[in-house]
Amino acid sequence: MSRFELYSPEGLRLDGRRWNELRRFECSINTHAHASDGSSYLEQGNNKIVTLVKGPQEPILRSQLDATKASLNITVNITKFSKMERSKSSHKNERRVLEMQTALVRTFEKNVMLHLYPRTLIDIEIHVLQQDGGILGSLINSITLALIDSGIAMYDYVSAISIGLYDTTPLLDVNTLEENAMSTVTLGVIGKSEKLSLLSVEDKIPLDRLESVLAIGIAGAHRVRELMDNELRKHAAHRVAKSSAK
């Protein structure tokens, strides 16, 4: 028994959204121009994420060198203060974080044109300043933005979103309270297509419900892509205006 009314009979969720509404989504790129080759800052609800991309650069270790393509290295730093209660451990070698890193590398290996940058390393560093559910999806969005900022060639946007299933109702873009109370699915969608680059289900979801969950998830991811695209174009227009003014 959950202590909350997760989805009221009137169709409102805990935080006042309806079933198919995204959280507040704000992003900006090129936030850390001096520290990295590409960077982004993303707020998705109360998820706050800084991403830095370094590279393509010469690998520090020889083992990271691949003669045919660039190697991708992603580190996720979940800060101790990112949750309501300060955690004692840094989450560095936690299984959950390592798993997340692997999932991210696998997703982006397929979407970044790594073969264009042989014998190099692309290093992505993520700092989660605050988290509030559906973190994996937010990480993917922030990496997409930072990679685009760094100018590394990609096939298309990867936009991601988490969907929960409450009884029979899919709920788009879950927050922590919802995530803890129900099974959730995280989707990564490529561009405007319906191709999935990531599908992560950590609890049980009945097979007959999966279709409706995927449908709303893909629509949500497309909306996220659109929001990111708007921001990028705005930023680009701003930069073009600045350089032409010179």
Partner: protein
């Protein structure tokens, strides 16, 4: 997206959607945590009034693509001096007067602000569910709606600096009222805020909407006199202020929350559920995990207003005050009979002091004598009340029949572990000797008895219908007819429904695509064996000898889940009822009659859907293989146990059906032997059956239930089916399989019984294993008295743990064990018509064999946990209700025939003995006053379980030991105080 800051940290996201942060501090385990949550404000929250022309244009459909229904009437109730109005409720009204809100004659067109709903949910979940049900079901008549004021941009209020949360919430409610008033200005509908919070009403006084207390509001209603009767009785001082000054009696105040939190943490306070002794209503015990024995709470002040079943916080008393559980019997009804309900604050000091001092002294003596002292404690807080509606009757001596007006009277409850309730009523004289339902409102510390209010009248005492209803209410059994929504889930064909003749026919498959997966077993010679007159036939059997010398045995169970699909209202109703309840004169069905007695019932000579378990058993009745399938069967005959026995015994019958039945009987005997060898227990309970006169439906005679070999034939195969199914569903759903377990009894439960046996008979019961227990029970025989063994079995049954339903994720495999049946895993599968556990087991088995995918709710641990909790409770209540019904009718039977019977002493107390009479299955206390004239001469020896006293008539000394066989005179008497009929026993 344009993002612009609105006032106070709000950000506009898009048209009609704004986000803000909800920030608050929560303390947990002594630390403080700052919680930040997003909070979205919107402008598409409709007022749901039919008179509104704006809101229908802004509504959005939900996930099922349905638009919200506009419920509030355009012409609501018209009150004098006020006009047409909607009512807005404050939290305190919902919590205090939920009964009144459910009353069909008042409260129409009610708006429940979301903040109120949240507050109610935090305070009391049951009240929250009732309120939600009201909002859901009251479309046409009562018209309750929830308005999400917290999410509406127009009505959201920010907490001000230095404003308490309560004040802010009150302000939010007022803001909602204000908004509604403005919003509905055109249609001239007034808003009345009903609140019992004086401060809230004062703050609202300069607003435009009307504010009333519950009392004032009810006064306004045209039918106020009738409604006022069921108003909650909060504090009488509200009505007669002069009583306030007299405050002689008072209970200790409860500790503040902070002290309790600290105390629980540092181990000086303990939390547990209190259980009031059934013999003494002033003594309770609390089971605390860290103590091996329960902690005693003795006396009115120490109990401190705790009700049976409340969750309490207790504090231990100093060791000098520890004592043994009292050996005195005490009922609420005979205690303090002379209290005056009108001014119960002003207690006759002498009377109380005396009766209590006497008790204390007696206790002190016994405590000194014995070494079995238990720690005692006192209640310092009651975090959760177990209050519900109670059935009782007005104590006649508390009613002043001369004066007509409203007066305070006492209501004595049927449950003797509970105190009297004080209610205010105008109809006291009219309600005398009626069974009435009351509900408790509060128990302030300066009141000796809790305050409550009248809910409704069930009918006269001893009228069969009123008594049955009282009994059902008292055991929380839902007995109202099935609702329309539930009945709509039944097959349209009604009684004409037929299983398709040809399973392959295209038409039938088109209707039910799963039909192809059914197996046709209509050629098997299947029969059912049940008690005579049984109409809901759950199970049928067949057996056939195979060419290899093995047997094919099939158990066929009614396929209830074909009709009861998960997630339908029918399923929800079944899940909430949990079980059918069998009373002497009535059966309360779990599922509608159409299913229970017709479509699902495996009646003979017709095709029925079934769920079949088919084994191949070898000659030793060991399972060679087992097969599960949904099937179609045709039962050849429905036997009663006796008919079946006759047919098997009749040597002239040699048809295949009879041969099959004989094979079944042989196999069942082998199965039973194997079970007993494994250590299954054969326990006894004093079960009797009441025969009803078929014409007058008056109870006729009482009979002890007989057992035939065919009873155990059916039982053995049902056990076998249950075990096989349990293994299968556990295999497929290791986390959520619906199972049933029976824990081994802790040895402390048997301590007293063993001591009695040791002392009196030189026997003992071993608890090493169920096998040892079964063997030692077999050894407990008294050559002179064949009944002694049964008596010991009855008493050991009471020391056992109750079996319980659980889902497999809740325990580890070793704890699945069913102690009584001596099997490692068990479930209930064979009676889906009358038990919900079986319905779940059916669905899980259907999922396990790939018949249809299992519903989500049976794959979710939390949901399974809720189901298990509910069916465990319902199962227990149903048993109690059944027993209470038998008890009542046995009382009625004895009313006509007084007799002298043999009884056995099962408990010796300080002031009486408890005797059980096997012939009627009744058990009763014989008080010391009825044993002897000179109560002071009586001597109670706790070590020997002996009571010595001078007999009334002969004047000789007499000793009574536990286990003694005694002759008792049985008669049924109507208690003048409680107007409850019960068997009274007198020693001969």
């Amino acid at each position: 997206m344009s993002v612009s800051a609105v006032s106070g940290g709000r950000k506009r996201l898009s048209e009609g959607l704004t986000v803000t942060q909800k920030v608050f501090v929560r303390s947990r385990n002594g630390g403080a945590t700052k919680i930040v949550r997003e909070h979205y404000l919107r402008n598409d929250i409709p007022c749901l009034s039919r008179s509104c022309s704006i809101c229908p244009t802004i509504v959005v459909p939900d996930a099922k693509n349905e638009l919200p229904k506009f419920v509030l009437s355009e012409s609501p109730q018209d009150l004098k001096n006020i006009g047409k109005h909607y009512t807005v409720l404050d939290t305190n009204i919902v919590l205090q007067a939920i009964d009144l809100l459910e009353n069909p004659n008042c409260f129409f067109d009610v708006i429940v602000p979301q903040i109120v709903l949240d507050e109610v949910r935090n305070k009391s979940y049951p009240v929250y569910t009732r309120l939600r049900n009201l909002c859901r079901d009251s479309d046409g008549k009562k018209r309750f709606i929830v308005f999400h004021n917290e999410f509406s941009e127009a009505t959201f209020v920010e907490r001000l600096k230095d404003e308490s949360i309560n004040d802010r919430n009150d302000r939010a409610i007022r803001k909602t009222c204000e908004w509604y008033l403005d919003h509905l200005a055109k249609s001239e509908i007034k808003i009345i805020l009903v609140s019992n919070d004086r401060l809230n009403r004062i703050s609202a006084s300069d607003e435009k909407f009307i504010t009333k207390s519950l009392y004032e509001y009810v006064e306004l209603l045209p039918n106020s006199d009738e409604v006022k009767e069921s108003m909650p009785n909060l504090d009488s001082s509200q009505y007669n202020k002069d009583a306030e000054s007299i405050n002689e009696f008072s209970y200790p105040e409860f500790y503040p929350t902070s002290r309790i939190m600290g105390g629980l943490k540092n181990g000086s306070l303990f939390q547990g559920n209190i259980q009031i002794s059934e013999y003494n209503f002033l003594e309770g015990s609390v089971n605390i995990p860290s103590f091996s024995r329960p902690v005693l709470v003795v006396g009115q002040k120490n109990l401190n207003r705790a009700f049976n079943g409340d969750q309490v916080i207790v504090e231990l008393l100093p060791e000098s005050q520890w004592k043994a559980p009292s050996t005195v019997a005490l009922d609420a009804e005979h205690y303090d009979v002379n209290d005056n309900p009108e001014n119960d604050n002003e207690v006759d000091a002498n009377l109380i002091a005396d009766s209590q001092r006497r008790l204390l002294a007696e206790n002190a003596i016994t405590a000194q004598k014995s070494n079995k002292v238990q720690p005692t404690a006192r209640v310092v807080a009651i975090p959760r009340r177990s209050w519900r509606q109670y059935v009782g009757q007005i104590a006649p001596n508390s009613v002043d029949t001369q004066t007509g007006g409203t007066q305070n009277v006492f209501v004595i409850l049927m449950d003797k572990c509970l105190p009297k309730i004080r209610i205010r009523t105008r109809r006291a004289t009219e309600l005398l000797s009626k069974r009435i339902v009351v509900s408790i409102d509060s128990w302030p510390s300066n009141h000796k008895f809790p305050l409550g209010h009248f809910v409704r009248n069930l009918g006269g005492v001893e009228e069969a219908q009123a008594e049955t209803e009282a009994l059902l209410l008292e055991h929380d059994v839902e007995y109202r007819p099935f609702s329309k929504k539930v009945l709509e889930c039944l097959p349209e064909e009604g009684h004409d429904w037929k299983a398709p003749v040809d399973l392959k026919s295209q038409d039938a498959i088109a209707k039910d695509p799963l039909l192809q997966k059914r197996v046709d077993l209509r050629d098997k010679l299947i029969c059912s064996i049940d008690p005579p007159g049984c109409v809901d036939i759950d199970d049928a059997l067949h057996a056939k000898k195979l060419p290899n010398g093995h047997f094919e045995v099939g158990v066929h169970i009614a396929d209830v889940t074909h009709f009861v699909k998960a997630g339908t209202p029918l399923d929800a109703e079944g899940a909430s009822r949990g079980t059918s309840v069998y009373l002497v004169d009535k059966r309360i069905d779990m599922l509608p009659m159409l299913l229970g007695t017709d479509l699902c019932s495996l009646k003979p000579y017709v095709d029925r859907f079934a769920f079949s378990v088919i084994w191949e058993l070898d000659e030793n009745a060991d399972i060679v293989k087992v097969d599960f399938s949904k099937s179609v069967i045709r039962s050849r005959e429905a036997f009663s146990y006796e008919q079946a026995q006759l047919r098997i015994d009749d040597k002239n019958q040699t048809d295949e059906l009879t041969l099959g039945m004989r094979a079944l009987l042989d196999l069942s005997i082998k199965l039973k032997q194997k079970r007993l060898d494994a250590g299954a227990l054969n326990l006894a309970s004093p079960e009797v059956k009441v025969h009803m006169d078929s014409e007058t439906s008056d109870p006729g005679e009482v009979e002890i239930k007989k057992l035939l070999a065919t009873n155990s034939l059916v039982e053995e195969f049902m056990l076998l089916a249950n075990i096989s199914v349990a293994r299968k569903i556990y295999d497929s759903f290791p986390q959520t399989a619906m199972l049933r377990r029976h824990a081994a009894p802790p040895s402390t439960n048997f301590e007293i019984l063993n001591e009695m046996l040791q002392k009196r008979k030189g026997l003992s019961i071993s608890l090493e294993s169920s096998k040892a227990l079964a063997d030692s029970l077999d050894r407990c025989v008294d050559k002179k008295d064949p009944y002694f063994n049964t008596l010991v079995r009855i008493m050991s049954t009471r020391c056992m743990m109750a079996a319980q339903y659980f889902y497999s994720g809740a325990y580890s495999y070793s704890d699945f064990r069913h102690y009584g049946l001596a099997v490692d895993i068990y479930t209930h599968f064979t009676s889906p018509i009358r038990r919900y556990c079986d319905v779940v087991a059916h669905r899980q088995l259907a999922g396990a064999i790939g018949y249809e995918p299992l519903d989500l709710s049976h794959r979710d641990k939390n949901k399974m946990e809720m189901i298990c909790k509910n069916i465990n409770r319902r199962h227990r209540n149903a048993q109690f209700a059944g027993r209470a019904s038998i008890e009542y009718y046995v009382g009625q039977v004895m009313r006509n025939n007084e007799s002298v019977e043999t009884g056995y002493v099962i408990k010796v107390l300080n002031n009486g003995i408890v005797v059980i009479v096997p012939k009627f299955g009744v058990e009763g206390l014989i008080r010391l006053e009825n044993l002897t004239k000179d109560t002071s001469s009586a001597n109670f020896d706790e070590v020997d379980f002996k009571l010595t006293f001078t007999q009334i008539d002969t004047g000789k000394q007499r000793e009574i030991h536990v286990f003694d066989k005694v002759e008792v005179q049985l008669k049924s008497v109507l208690d003048p105080v409680t107007s409850k009929r019960k068997a009274e026993l007198l020693l001969k």
